[in-house]
């Protein structure tokens, strides 16, 4: 039962093929097999949000999926989002707003922020806090994170339609 089985998936645009135990979570697969340690594990039960990745474009907890389940799928981690620069403005906003301290929750926060901001529009602070409700942070007061996300939303909206008034 601890025999390894083959998995094959796209991770950050690159096809990877490995042999893994079925019980290996996607989080452990990314961190240990692929050494993509930007995805963190804080609870291994889907309660803290530190392990969020994009699975086929949607944010999911990597600790709540076994790698075998994602064979054939496409996964993007914070490293991939970072090098493709799709989250560059979010990262800058976080940096300028000091929206991180120890950084352990940050990867998950960025994935959540990316998914929220991809929907377009300018969410209210309450909307943002609601969206972040599954991302645990112990260091910051969440406020700088909300500030950072709000500033990106406004900047993107202004860029999309310079004449439009923000909501």
């Amino acid at each position: 039962m601890t025999e390894r089985v083959p998995v094959s998936m796209k991770v950050n645009g690159e096809t990877v093929e490995r042999f893994v135990e079925p019980r290996m979570t996607l989080a452990d697969f990314l961190r240990e097999e692929l050494e993509l340690t930007g995805t963190h594990t804080g609870c291994e039960m889907g309660a803290c949000g530190a392990c969020l990745v994009l699975l086929n474009g949607q944010a999911v907890h990597a600790c709540l999926t076994f790698a075998v389940q994602t064979s054939g799928d496409s996964v993007e981690t914070v490293e991939g989002l970072s090098s493709s620069r799709v989250i560059a403005d979010i990262q800058n906003a976080f940096h300028n707003a000091n929206a991180l301290q120890c950084g352990f929750c940050t990867s998950g926060m960025l994935v959540t922020a990316h998914e929220l901001l991809s929907q377009g529009g300018v969410p209210s602070r309450e909307d943002i806090r609601d969206r972040l409700s599954g991302n645990y942070c112990r260091c910051t007061g969440y406020q700088a994170i909300v500030d950072a996300i709000q500033s990106v939303a406004r900047a993107r909206a202004a860029e999309a339609e310079p004449s439009a008034r923000p909501e």
Binding site: M1, T2, V5, E21, P22, R23, T25, E44, M45, G46, G49, L52, L55, Q58, A59, V60, H61, C63, L64, T65, F66, V68, Q69, S71, T112, E115, D130, R131, S133, G134
Partner: protein, 294 residues
Amino acid sequence: MKARAFRYVRAASLDDALSAYAGADGECSYIAGGQSLVPALALRLQAPDLLIDISRLPEMTGISLEGDTLRVGALTRHSEMLSSPEIARHAPLLKAAAPFVAHPAIRNKGTFGGTIALADPAAEFPAMCLALDAEFEIAGVEGQRTSPANGFFHGLFDTDLQPGEIITAIRIPGFGPNDRCVFHEFARRRGDYAMAGAGIQATLIDEQVESIKIAFLSAGPTPMRAPHAEAQLTGGPLSGERIEAAQHALAEDLEPEDNDDTSAAMRMHLARVLLGRLLTRLAHPEHGQERRQQ
């Protein structure tokens, strides 16, 4: 928190899944979204020998209107309850409850069929299926059958499902032109299991309640309908008096338990308060509840 070892097989079809289960050596579990199963495995609360992945079966996806009935595939993700125009139009109670279901990333993966099969009394959607008088399409090695939501939930995590059976779809009567619905829950934090939660769907004609269905979560060992409360409200307006009577009648409907730092008495109290607030909202359509979208 690493799961015990297991074998894994990905079902290519419904029949494939059913026969894999029937022929399995040792204990077996289906996995769809896995948002409840995987933590249970990580904590070693469950340790099946074989996991059968049913998450890609085409027979179980899709949302479609068939006459007056909405057919929702069991693999519909919770997040789709928020985004689907069909759900918004024909089953707005599910959309109203969806923001309270766990957190966004869980909603992206968790499935409608999965949460019903687990039947956690604190879950939103099983209770809403009661309020919607939904019917479950179930597949087994013996064939297909349907089971009404009312009567499906037997006890704590105990449903009408036999070992090896799979919920393939959920059928919901469509939302009519005179229908209204509301949902709310009291939870310590956004996404936590509710201390008390309820959804109501009612048909009102000239502000008289023609029919009303009230279902509670976190108020007993299963999701609970509240027929005694409903009886107090049917056939009349949603007046303050009748609302109070309904709140009073709840004692006969609900069976909350002592739990953590929350007593059964407190849960009952919260359930009453919740019912009052929901009925007040229902009576005032302008105050944030779902009406049929034109």
